[in-house]
Point group: C2
Chain length 567, copies 2
């Protein structure tokens, strides 16, 4: 029994909180503004202290909670899709004298373990999405630190490619988590300091121990920021730097963005339905049945027609809906342990859309869509649920949708047909999309990761691109975990699910977090592996979360009492 | 307050346990035997059920605790130093029908969190030492699994380069931690399955879910073992395989080993003294003062003379003593947060010994000594204490001993001399040893890791090899964290130590585990990063360690009750 969490069905901050909705749009933002100036956008953080996602804390000093980050994530997405003309994005504060004080400590102090973990995961994904925009959309982020940037504030800056700090003899960058809060700078902070900024490790140690942080030229010398700018030249220099960086982008000059309109979504007690994705909750078995539907329409006649479809273009629709479904399951359905992934539709229609994306790969929007799908699949990789793909007659696991089966912990495929079902035998079809479009965080494709020990299997798979592969052949090629005939299917699946449901959810989370990431590690996987795992450990330690721990006592004036044992 | 640990000064299994001694020798082994047969050694595991390190559990079925692993570690060391003629080592069980049942669960169920963490760290280091012997001593390990190998038993096998499994229709390999115990195969198991054996990730998921494991040809097909051998041909095939593998080694045919004699060590309440290392505990300040002394004697006249010195040859003496001191601090002094590292002696004497090692690098013993020093420095890298190197007049931070300063979290150097001290100014001297002899687990030298962002600083350092560098120059070159003059020294150090002592020990452990490992990750660093951090998280979760958790209830016949939330 720990911290009253056991048996507490609620999540988040406080005993229960309303459903967390990851959908928003600028008209509803309470914490961010986007101001466009030609090819430069200013993304302005101006947190409403009264706008917390739940009660019991005030978002002072531009501190943030999950709600603030949901808006940031939305803004980063929209800048990519709705503003092709924007080539540089400047993150800055809308408040005087403070850039951002980081994650709200009172919120963290009250949050359940599950909420803390989920919050950190989402904020990490958002920062990685910022880096993805800089690298792959050539919409380069600059951070203009006009005031103190502490903890998560500096971690936000670290996601930018160029960090500017005002030299006003006050403003500093800091990672005060260890001295102040007994936790880590866990939103990528420690990893980006050593691996992105490449700060010398002993200096990083000093920096992470100084509550008040480091400012001025020393911050440049220590590689913590890229430049410091006198107050008097601040606005001009920031604007000039943004223009300079914008000039290096390959984004089109006169393209027109597409609108990300509200999702077609209905939420019921045990079901969330979208236009092409269904989530059906089976609480008795701790299961979610997720079905992704293939395209209902043919591919557009032309690139212009695809642009005209906007967010109704199938690959984009499915990316948005699947992402929302995954985030919903993570945050709002903690008791769901297993996700059964199914697809429904015509494999050829999926492959035709892939082909369309491939042909139009020079187009900015098609590029965005592919990178978006990549990020959605990455969300699956770090989702703490067991994913099992079920490949049955009527499914369309082909190309982009087949990637779901490769993201799953296991895949089961039916051999042939079902009695009384006159559809064609279950089949899967490899496409070019499975060989490079969707790298995992470790830099490899899911097939490369799958065949780490058998590179020849990867070559054999490549030769089957476009071929509808039935159960036995798919199993032989190593593309599915198991293939069963109809008369074994139900029993095998039932036993597997009962078994999975009987295991400790924590052991499964840890096991999956290891087995999913064989092979190389990158800065991205280090953030979700090394850094996050240590942070989650600390989030269970009394020194952080106990009644006398630092998170609980922060702001009370009482100093925490630590158990001094070094573990 | 968690599990009664808070405020409990004892460590290990049960409320208090005797000091853990990492020194042993074959005459005292209770659990292992070494049988040599020419160039092949058999390392036979035959655990004495009554020989547990503490009371309250029986080591049934070749299950192990830290005491069993201390013997294994000792055996692995001695095989390298005492048996140059041994070119292949076969690990097998001395019991019928069981190879090894893994870590003893009753022991884990009773152990404090600190002991669990320490136990896993040491067993991980031992398995890495086995791999180091195969790779760098060409004393190649083979595992002959003659009976069930479950959990830690299979993880031990995974450390070998060649795994043989008897095909008797019973013996299997298994990682049943997740289904049975709600924890991970944390002694490298998950990482070696995906990254060393390169088992397909979905098969790894299946394998880690099957209590009874996998046997026979399927174990080969799934890459879990290298070969299965019928019972009738077992002994002959194992012997033949060992001879084959031995024949590939470059170890000398007729060399004579050296004896690893008992350490010259005296232990008092607040002090551990060795011939060249002193550990002085300052409990009031949670500090350990560790002083390493340089060579008292000149380098030997010849290689033969160095061999004749045996374990009295200074580099080997210092490796053994420093290793024991580190292990002692980890296991027996959990309340010590900071280690001040000092050296005492002549830099030229240290460098002369390095030079001797370099010239004799073709010699098997000199090679062993260098690899041993490498492993000792790696133990520092994963020790959860803050290391601060103090470079003062009279010190000998040069070459091999300078590596200690690069392993430290920070280094402080005195500028010039102390008032009233007529010794030469403090200096440090780079040697060839700092540029490749002692790679960290991440595959880089400590200087490469230090200068990830400034490769030109690495080049500049290389040009200073052999030059005694005083404080200001060393600071300028980026080789020390800070350099202070005499009149600032005491205050700066005092403030730093007070500050460090005020931080949460857990946050420091997590922070150091991140900052020390910038740059690439390897299988080795993944084991200590990703895998260990997740395991430590699980070791804090009620589903594993609560009163209704799996570790507590194992063997009682009562099933654990899990909180079903997926985090």
């Amino acid at each position: 029994m720990h911290n009253g969490e056991r048996g507490d069905p609620g999540r988040g901050v406080g005993k229960r909180m309303a459903m967390i909705d990851f959908q928003t749009d600028p008209s509803r933002y309470r914490h961010w503004r986007i101001e466009c100036d030609g090819d430069v956008a200013y993304l302005i953080m101006d947190v409403d202290p009264a706008g917390g996602l739940s009660e019991g804390y005030e978002l002072k000093l531009n501190s943030y909670d999950l709600g603030v980050d949901i808006e940031l994530n939305d803004a980063v997405q929209r800048l990519r899709f709705e503003h092709p003309e924007v080539r540089a994005v400047v993150i800055k504060s809308g408040k005087d004298n403070v850039f951002c004080a980081g994650a709200n400590i009172r919120m963290l102090g009250k949050a359940t373990h599950g909420h803390k973990v989920n919050f950190c995961k989402f904020t990490n994904e958002t920062r990685l999405a910022i880096e993805d925009a800089s690298e792959n959309s050539r919409q380069t982020y600059i951070c203009a630190i006009n005031g103190n940037a502490a903890g998560g504030g500096y971690e936000l800056a670290l996601a930018a490619e160029h960090i500017m700090l005002v030299d006003d003899r006050r403003s500093a960058v800091a990672l005060p988590e260890t001295p102040l809060l007994a936790v880590l700078p866990g939103t990528g902070g420690l990893t980006r300091v050593t691996d992105k900024r490449k700060v010398r490790r002993d200096r990083a140690d000093v920096f992470c121990s100084i509550e008040e942080g480091i400012r001025g030229t020393k911050a440049v010398q220590w590689r913590l920021v890229d430049e410091v700018v006198p107050n008097s030249k601040w606005n001009d220099t920031v604007a000039a730097r943004a223009k300079e960086i914008a000039a290096r982008s390959d984004r089109p000059a006169d393209a027109k963005g597409i609108a990300l309109t509200p999702l077609a979504r209905t939420i019921a007690a045990d079901r969330v339905s979208y236009s092409h994705v269904d989530v059906e909750i089976d609480r008795a078995r701790s299961l979610a049945n997720v079905t992704v539907r293939g395209p209902a329409a043919a591919v557009p006649d032309s690139l212009a027609a695809a642009h005209a479809l906007g967010d109704k273009f199938w690959p984009l629709t499915v990316a948005r809906e699947l992402e929302d479904a995954i985030l919903h399951l993570r945050s709002n359905e903690p008791a769901i342990a297993v996700v059964l992934l199914r697809t429904d539709g015509q494999a050829q229609a999926v492959l035709a859309h892939d082909e369309f994306l491939a042909k139009a790969k020079g187009d900015w929007l098609m590029r965005e869509i592919r990178h978006y799908l990549k990020r959605v699949f990455k969300r699956v990789d770090v989702t703490p649920k067991s994913f099992i793909a079920l490949i049955e007659p009527g499914s369309c696991f082909a190309g982009t949708l087949l990637e779901l089966a490769f993201a799953a912990d296991r895949s089961l495929m039916l051999i042939g047909t079902r009695e009384g079902d006159n559809r064609a035998p279950a089949a899967l079809t490899l496409g070019q999309a499975n060989f490079g479009w969707y790298p995992m965080g470790n830099g490899l494709t899911r097939l490369q990761t799958r065949f780490l020990g058998e590179p020849e299997a990867l070559e054999a798979a490549k030769e089957k691109i476009g071929v509808a592969l039935e159960g036995e052949e798919a199993e032989e090629l190593g593309l599915v975990t198991m293939a069963y005939e109809d008369f074994d299917w139900d029993d095998e699946l039932r036993v597997m699910l009962e078994e999975r449901a009987s295991f400790s959810p924590d052991a499964l989370t840890g096991m999956e977090a290891n087995l999913r990431f064989g092979g190389p590690e990158t800065m991205e996987t280090k953030i979700f592996g090394r850094l996050t795992a240590w942070q989650n450990w600390i989030f269970q330690r009394p020194n952080a979360i106990g009644e006398q721990g630092a998170l609980k006592l922060y702001g009370t004036g009482v100093s925490p009492t630590y158990n001094k044992e070094r573990v």
